[in-house]
């Protein structure tokens, strides 16, 4: 931690003591946390007064959308036009809550849900593990258990008809429903709190279940995740809006560009039947970080792997936003991925550098795959890349990566899949040992980048500021601490290796928000870029240090 002390030390200064019952109060936003309440970052960002000031919501936004939680908006819930509409929405919410606890409608997560709904000991052990709560200076509203406890009280009182004397007071009205849905998008679903719970209660799961009620029953979703996310992917093939023709054009351009940079010819294969590997990237890489697929394809070709991309609907975009808010949307995208692999007859699917795509297709989708689909294994690119390194088919020169490097652990790969060591062994092979420094904590106890559960692509109104100030601040703190012994100038460039597209997007945005490239020389990128940068057969300087 910085020498300013632990964020928890400031809790005593907290003035905003929000009660659980305030969720239904007609009192305006429940929290408005001033910058002065937050803990200063390590140098050279240690002056709170120098940080970008929060932008208030516009009057137009306030008039149109429900915004009585905390001064920002993630979900864009339109204000109901009448009391009757409010009542209808509350009924719809309760109907969805009821379905969550029905076997037929929620067999998918029924057991974990009931455990978390009925067995919390309310010990608040989860709070200290939450980066959002901690970086808010201990704001009551952002306790991981705050939304969970409201959810539980509603469940006990309105679904099970049990006494408030036993489970605590709660009143359900439209204010409470709108705030609770919005509050479900103040959690990165990183499950760090679940990891510390002595009983195994999972606040992240409950946040996700609230999102499900909103989406699956009330048709309330975050636009970037649903309409411009999973729906767009299922409609045209990718949430980037890229159809198969544009994909092939883009890849041709990337092949040429990569060849120019590395001096190694690359040709991306499409729809090769019987290939060993179907490689699925997050299509965001193709659009925003073309050097990433370029580096992947260079490495796969140089290692002599039999691989292909698919140009089938959704199969060239590994994202699956349903994993954050909607089981049906999740299952649809997973099915499209698996069907494409089946059609090509590949031996396995390899997921590119995208954490949630890893978890969605490898772990979460695992038990919805019937015989005939479950015979196509899904594998992390980390193990495939490590196999390439171990095989010795590609020679690496560590001295080409002679700059400070730290590694961000994407939650989905580490805490939620247990893939910890392969990426470290790769780094050991391509980065001089004295140049690599771990973040603290790291591995399975890592902190979320702050972009988890869709936040990295959510930027409506002033929400991106919220995620820099609260959800992303701990990661930025960790990065600064990891490079604490380095000269924090642009002349001493430092590399944050983030092998996940969403994490990379979030880290890009944090760096941009704090102007950390100009002020401290902090840059970011994926793992394969570092690998190609160290490839003996490639021209040097694959990593582009110009800020983009």
């Amino acid at each position: 931690m910085s020498d300013q002390g632990h964020p928890g030390d400031r809790r005593a200064e907290l003035k905003q003591l929000v009660e659980l019952t305030d969720i239904s109060a007609d009192c305006g936003p429940l929290a408005d946390i001033p910058l002065s309440q937050q803990i200063p970052l390590p140098p050279p960002f240690d002056k709170l007064e120098d940080e970008p000031q929060p932008t208030p919501l516009t009057d137009a936004a306030k008039e149109k959308y429900e915004c009585e939680l905390d001064g920002t908006i993630a979900v864009n819930i339109p204000k109901p036009e009448s009391k009757e509409e409010e009542e209808r929405l509350v009924k719809s919410f309760l109907s969805g809550m009821k379905k969550l606890f029905e076997e037929e409608n929620n067999w998918i997560f029924l057991k974990p849900l009931v455990i978390s709904a009925e067995h919390c000991a309310k010990c608040q052990t989860c709070s200290d593990s939450c980066h959002i709560y901690e970086e808010s200076g201990g704001a009551e509203l952002y306790r991981p258990s705050y939304r969970s406890e409201i959810f539980r009280r509603i469940y006990h009182k309105y679904i099970k008809g049990e006494s408030e004397w036993v489970h605590g007071e709660i009143d359900l009205n439209w204010k409470a429903v709108a705030r609770l849905i919005e509050l479900s998008y103040r959690c990165n679903l990183c499950r760090r709190c679940a990891q510390t719970c002595p009983i195994g209660v999972d606040n992240a799961l409950l946040a996700r279940e609230i999102r499900k009620v909103a989406s699956q029953e009330m048709n309330i979703q975050v636009k970037e995740l649903h309409e411009a996310g999973s729906v767009l992917q299922q409609k045209v093939g990718s949430s980037t809006g890229m159809n198969d023709l544009v994909l092939k054009d883009n890849m041709e351009f990337i092949d040429e560009d990569t060849e120019e940079k590395t001096g190694i010819k690359v040709e991306t294969p499409f729809d090769v039947e019987g290939a060993d590997i179907l490689l699925i990237h997050n299509a965001g890489e193709i659009m925003a970080w073309p050097e990433n697929p370029g580096a992947f394809h260079t490495l796969f070709n140089a290692a002599g792997l039999s691989w292909t991309l698919s140009s089938d609907l959704a199969a060239y975009d590994g994202i699956n936003y349903g994993v954050w808010y909607d089981d049906v949307q999740f299952a649809r995208t997973a099915m499209l991925h698996m069907q494409a692999a089946k059609k090509l007859g590949v031996k396995k699917i390899v997921l590119g550098e995208c954490g949630h795509a890893h978890k969605a297709l490898t772990v979460i989708a695992d038990r919805i795959l019937a015989e005939g689909l479950n015979d196509i294994p899904r594998e992390s690119c980390m193990t495939v890349l490590l196999d390439i390194v171990r095989s010795g088919k590609i020679k690496f020169d560590k001295s080409r990566n002679d700059f400070p490097v730290t590694l961000h652990d994407p939650c989905n790969m580490t805490r939620l899949m247990g893939i910890i060591q392969p990426q470290r062994e790769i780094i050991e092979a391509i980065v001089p040992a004295e140049r690599f420094r771990e973040m603290a904590p790291h591995g399975v106890e890592n902190y979320c980048c702050g972009g988890g559960s869709g936040f990295a692509i959510m930027s409506g109104h002033n929400f991106s500021e919220w995620r820099h100030r609260f959800s992303g601040r701990r990661k930025f703190r960790q990065i600064l601490e990891a490079f604490g012994d380095e000269e924090m100038t642009k002349e001493n460039p430092k590399y944050v290796c983030a092998p996940c597209s969403n994490c990379k997007g979030q880290i890009r945005d944090i760096i941009s928000h704090y102007d950390a490239w100009e002020k401290a020389g902090i840059h970011y990128g994926g793992l394969v870029e570092l690998m190609v940068n160290a490839m003996v057969d490639a021209k040097p300087d694959f990593i582009d240090w110009e800020w983009h």
Partner: protein, 317 residues
């Protein structure tokens, strides 16, 4: 009248057993959920559990035999159950109250089990009575009994004070949470009062437990105040025993499933696996969610149908 404490104790044991078994059955019968594991997974073999690694760290993991370790699970479970390791690690201030409370309960459980054991020995091997084994058992019963009650009361008072004074806990505390702790303090308090004042070597307590085992409802040699305190203690402890599994304090059952079925439930669905066989039945259930992207066409459908249709694409066409 002397039969009443026996009857209350039997009723409490029945309620306790039925509620715990019922809860266990409820969780066991719930459908197979999707994988939602959380690392570290204690049974991961090959040294991976230490740092939170998984079988998915291995290249082409499905071609390798899975290495799982029951010993690895026990290594985590036993200290977790006995010493509340997770709480100690992540919430030390709460642990200083919760640990004595829980350990007190364990000691009282051990005390009861040992009294049962003594009763069995006395019944089937009467010759052993008065021997070294009985002496040891007797001392352990005393230590567990007194220690358990004292720790339980100490922990419950600590938890109660913390609940009532800590801002973060207070607003989450319901009247029932306070009642529960007070119930423990009162029930254990009466019991402690009884043994300290009237039964310091647990003679009548052990006789009561022994009689319970063989359904012998003999009156214990007490009258007046001792008899009253004894009866109140038995009734309070019995009510407490019956009450625990009917509340969220049945988290010892939930915790078992939270760890074994959810956090450590990492078994992959490979062709021919038990998971694989369950999938069709699960997917063939009807889906009743109302949002238009699920129920938009107004036709009833199964999960399989909902997962394989693509209304967004249809709209595009």
């Amino acid at each position: 009248m002397h039969v009443i404490p026996y009857l209350v104790a039997y009723a409490a044991l029945l309620v306790f057993a039925a509620a715990v078994v019922g809860r266990f059955i409820m969780f066991s019968k719930m459908p197979q959920h999707l994988r939602w594991e959380l690392y570290p997974v204690a049974h991961e073999g090959g040294g991976k559990a230490v740092y939170g690694g998984s079988f998915m760290e291995d290249f082409e993991w499905w071609k390798k035999p899975r290495e799982t370790s029951v010993a690895g699970e026990l290594k985590v479970m036993i200290p977790e159950i006995l010493f509340l390791v997770a709480l100690k690690e992540h919430n030390r201030k709460m642990w200083t109250k919760s640990f004595p409370f829980h350990f007190g309960l364990y000691m009282l459980t051990a005390c009861t089990v040992l009294m049962v054991l003594s009763g069995l020995l006395r019944t089937f091997w009467p010759d052993l009575e008065g021997g070294a084994l009985f002496k040891v058992l007797h001392w352990v019963v005393l230590v567990c009994g007194f220690g358990g009650m004292i720790l339980g009361i100490f922990g419950a008072i600590g938890l109660l004070i913390k609940r009532l004074t800590d801002r973060g806990l207070k607003s989450f505390t319901s009247p029932a949470d306070i009642f529960n702790l007070v119930f423990f303090i009162v029930a254990f308090g009466f019991s402690l009062l009884y043994v300290v004042l009237f039964d310091r070597d647990f003679t009548t307590v052990a006789s009561f437990v022994g009689n319970l085992m063989i359904a012998k409802f003999s009156a214990l040699p007490m009258a007046g105040n001792p008899g009253l305190v004894y009866a109140v203690s038995v009734v309070l402890l019995s009510l407490l025993l019956a009450y625990i599994p009917l509340t969220h304090m049945s988290h010892f059952v939930g915790k078992y499933f939270a760890y074994h079925a959810v956090r450590w439930g990492d078994e992959p669905n490979l062709p021919g696996s038990k998971h694989s066989k369950n999938v069709p039945d699960l997917l063939n259930q009807n889906i009743g969610w109302s949002a238009p992207h699920i129920a938009g066409d107004g036709k009833g459908k199964t999960w399989a149908e909902a997962a394989t249709e693509n209304p967004a694409r249809e709209e595009e066409k």
